[in-house]
């Protein structure tokens, strides 16, 4: 395939955001009637690339050709006019309108102001029949399952004469049979000459449905192979690729007798069902783990693996369907964050701005928020004592703020994170759960956070560290537990941990786990 025979051709596309080079000279092409898989770790640049294609971002440089003609995509509307449609993981439908109204929204047939419902229904039915989708045009979208809503999105794209259809993790919320139905539809699209870009973490599915795979890593191309000529192992190698030289290795936090150290926290058979989209979805399935004193335990997994959900359940922020939490050898009744805090657990949440901080309020107020009980007498906050402890933490962690009264929103990401960490350290926690503690933080502040974590572990605080960056986990953690689709799929010690082993466990799917266990037993 060359520049002029490919339906879509992207060459040397670069895009940077303040402080981050998101894409560097990335090339991608897909032909009419081809299904292209696009894979890469979290943050590899898949979303940025797709947002450029769908007109959300403008590239800094590079060339895009559609049907051999150079194009510029000005905005999402323009992308659709060009025949490029994207179906996001979070579907973009209006729940209180019918299927047909959603498909033709903004382009309703009929006179201006008056929609011809019969024509609308006829045109909708024509598309649904052609794609063999069993949907009623007049059904309310709200009443449909996730899989059916996805069909509506696809029908919407078809009604716009789609030439390139991008699907971002379309199978993540679907059941086995629904996935098969979706694949049938995708194949029909291919056979009718549509170019499909299929983004997924599920390598088995990519190998199953796609004709070719493009791999991204750290915002650059890392491979482009025909599915027939590759394997799961090769794809994993391409995804992780980089050598581990940028991180220092250090000694284990545990004593020589690591195994006999006290277990501080134990989660036994934690399950959680139901998400906002799908009340039957399995979020966590019988997850167990044990955390030792002074240990940094890593939780690895791809998007949707259940890492954050597990952290929230342990902290009492979300309810669990079943399972027990034991603290220091005793069952702990943790139903809410209040209970978790009483048991000496702190949570540094993934969404720092949305859940960790009150952005409008001062550094001082944020820092002491969880600790006001100790700082107050007769409900009056002891201003002097509060001041001293806040100043102490600002100095100790070198938090760069002009004053404790500065609103947190004005601090840099790294300093904001130190404020969140300070909030918990004031409570002398036994256990700190840190969800993506270095996300969105510049390199210098990152290493400060790493230092801090080592220091806390050496003081005997146990840390559960969640991160999407495998190298970070490998460098920091004494032990790493891998999750995939809400299940524990593997556990590795610091000696065993490599990018390949982690990626292997994190992309295991249920049947694979079962069959591996089966073969192990046999």
């Amino acid at each position: 395939m060359d520049k002029h025979s490919a339906l879509l051709w992207m060459e040397d596309v670069s895009k940077s955001f303040p402080g981050v080079q998101a894409l560097q000279n990335v090339s991608l092409h897909v032909g009419a009637g081809e299904i292209l898989g696009l894979i890469g770790q979290n943050g590899a640049g898949k979303s940025t690339l797709m947002k450029i294609l769908s007109g959300v971002y403008m590239p800094d440089s590079g060339e895009i050709l559609l049907g051999g003609e150079p194009i510029q995509i000005h905005n999402p509307h323009h992308a659709q006019e060009l025949g490029i449609s994207i179906i996001y993981q979070e579907l973009n439908l209006m729940p209180n309108l019918s299927v047909m109204e959603n498909i033709f929204v903004g382009r309703e047939p009929g006179l201006p102001l008056f929609v011809s419902r019969s024509k609308l229904e006829r045109q909708t039915r024509a598309i649904l029949d052609r794609m063999r989708m069993h949907l009623r045009p007049t059904a309310l979208v709200r009443s449909l399952s996730v899989a059916e809503q996805q069909m509506v999105e696809i029908a919407k794209a078809i009604s716009r004469d789609v030439r390139v259809l991008i699907m971002d993790e379309p199978t993540s919320a679907l059941s086995e049979t629904e996935v098969e139905t979706l694949f049938d539809i995708i194949r029909q699209l291919r056979d009718s000459g549509v170019a499909v870009i299929f983004i997924s973490h599920r390598l088995e599915e990519v190998l199953h449905i796609c004709d070719r795979v493009t791999v991204l890593r750290d915002g650059a191309n890392a491979g482009d192979v025909a599915v027939k000529a590759t394997s799961r192992e090769e794809l994993i190698r391409m995804m992780v690729g980089r050598p581990l030289d940028q991180f220092f290795h250090r000694d284990s936090h545990l004593d020589e007798s690591g195994n006999s150290a006290d277990t501080v926290l134990e989660a036994r058979g934690i399950s959680r069902r139901g998400t906002a989209l799908n009340p039957d979805a399995v979020v966590l399935d019988n997850v167990s783990l044990a955390l030792k004193r002074g240990e940094i335990l890593g939780l690895a997994g791809l998007v949707g693996a259940g890492r954050t959900e597990l952290a929230r359940v342990i902290f009492g922020a979300d309810k669990r369907s079943s399972g027990e939490i034991w603290i220091e050898g005793r069952p702990a009744k943790i139903q809410s964050p209040v209970d978790a805090i009483k048991h000496g657990i702190g949570l540094v949440p993934e969404d720092r701005k949305g859940q960790g901080l009150i952005l409008k309020l001062a550094v001082r107020v944020n820092m002491t928020l969880a600790n006001l009980d100790k700082l107050s007498s007769l409900d009056f906050v002891q201003q002097g004592a509060e001041r001293r402890v806040v100043d102490d933490y600002i100095q100790r962690f070198e938090i760069r703020t002009p004053s404790p009264e500065q609103r947190v929103v004005n601090l840099s990401g790294g300093n904001q994170q130190k404020v969140v960490i300070s909030k918990w350290l004031m409570l002398n926690p036994k256990i700190l759960i840190m969800d993506e503690p270095t996300r969105g933080i510049d390199v210098g502040a990152k290493s400060e956070i790493y230092e801090l974590m080592h220091e806390l572990a050496s003081q005997g605080i146990s840390i559960i560290m969640i991160s999407s960056e495998f190298p970070e986990l490998i460098a920091m953690c004494d032990r790493i537990i891998c999750l995939a689709e809400g299940r524990v799929t593997g556990e590795v010690t610091r000696e065993e941990a490599t990018l390949e082993t982690l990626m292997h466990y994190c992309t295991l799917r249920e049947q694979v786990v079962a069959s591996e266990e089966g073969s192990a037993a046999a």
């Binding site: 949305g354 859940q355 309020l361 004053s403 009264e405």
Partner: protein, 339 residues
């Protein structure tokens, strides 16, 4: 971080943080400008008698606005205060007189009922119960506060009508009227009550753990919950506080007017919300405070007083008040954007 914010905060290190008040300064500026204009055009405006008159006129609004500030700081709203005020006023009067209706208790100057303190207590109790009910629905059943208190607005008014059979309860003894009409030295009693509670509310919001929790819940309820705050209890409590002030104000208004009426307090909620918002408290919660609320309420009082002194038609007054509400909030946002 801008260099501007650095210099501003470092100069005040260790002391009160005036930047926290910045959102409340917009209204203060407008208030000062308007006072100067009135003073120049109509010197009678600045006489102590007139100034106390303004304060007396705003004291009922002011008390309600103190409670409303707590609610709005959590990101909520309470539309029921006017109706709850009417109901509490009638209850106070009925307890004092020993029954409802014009004929229930003898003539003026005779207290056939249960005495003054039970009357005040009953009014406040009714207010607190009303707030407890609405706050429970908001915090535990998660019905939006706008809807819950819109229901309260209608239901409490209906309850007031039902309770009094549509009749006002009027003519009280001097001990009852003292609270709304009396003076201590040159200062009207309701003004003293208003300012005392304003100081108390200011201290609670600024210096107590509870006050912190109110700001935190309004600023980011999820972060507050994850920091171990009992968010539902805080939300419940602020409706109890508005209920308390509605109850107290109900008694004071009946005392001031020498009559408890079913139509008392109609539309007060909007004036009170306007005052709180003019004072720089964000309807999204987490920002603002009592200082601004007092200024905002004074601004509304000063405007209507000054314009009346200048013989401006009440029709035009309404137009001007409307424009100034929008202008004050615009000015406030302008200041915030600069920061």
């Amino acid at each position: 971080m801008t260099s501007q914010s650095i210099s501003k905060s470092t100069t005040r290190k260790g002391g009160t943080d005036w930047s926290a008040y910045a959102s409340q300064f917009g209204a203060l500026g407008v208030l000062i400008i308007i006072c100067i204009i009135f003073a120049v055009i109509e010197p009678a405006f600045v006489s102590p008698i007139n100034l106390f008159n303004v304060l007396r006129q705003v004291s009922i609004y002011g008390l309600l606005a103190l409670g409303m500030t707590f609610v709005i700081l959590t990101g909520g709203i309470d539309l029921s205060v006017g109706s709850l005020l009417a109901l509490s006023g009638l209850v106070a009067a009925a307890v004092y007189k020993g029954g409802t209706g014009l004929l229930s208790a003898g003539t003026a100057g005779q207290a056939a009922g249960f005495g003054l303190w039970p009357a005040i207590g009953a009014a406040i109790l009714v207010g607190i119960l009303g707030g407890l009910l609405q706050g429970s629905v908001v915090s535990w059943l998660k019905v939006p506060p706008f809807i819950v208190t819109l229901g309260g607005l209608t239901a409490f008014r209906g309850l007031a009508l039902l309770f009094s059979s549509g009749q006002p309860i009027s003519t009280f003894t001097d001990e009852y009227k003292f609270w709304g009409q009396g003076m201590i030295g040159p200062v009207p009693v309701p003004v003293i009550i208003f300012l005392s509670f304003a100081v108390l509310a200011f201290i609670i919001l600024r210096y107590t753990r509870y006050g912190r929790h109110v700001y935190a819940v309004g600023g980011n309820p999820e972060a507050a919950r994850l920091s171990g705050l009992k968010v539902n209890n805080v939300v419940l409590s602020v409706y109890v506080i508005t209920g308390f002030f509605a109850g107290l104000s109900g008694f004071l208004l009946s005392s001031r007017l020498n009559s408890a009426e079913q139509v008392a307090g109609v539309g007060y909620e909007l004036t009170v919300i306007a005052g709180v918002v003019i004072g720089g408290t964000s309807l999204f919660g987490g920002e603002g405070g009592i200082f601004g609320t007092v200024i905002g309420i004074l601004l509304i009082g000063v405007l209507s007083n000054g314009l009346t002194l200048m013989n401006v038609s009440p029709y035009i007054q309404q137009i001007l008040v409307g424009l100034i509400i929008v202008f004050a909030v615009f000015l406030d946002q302008l200041i915030k954007r600069r920061r």
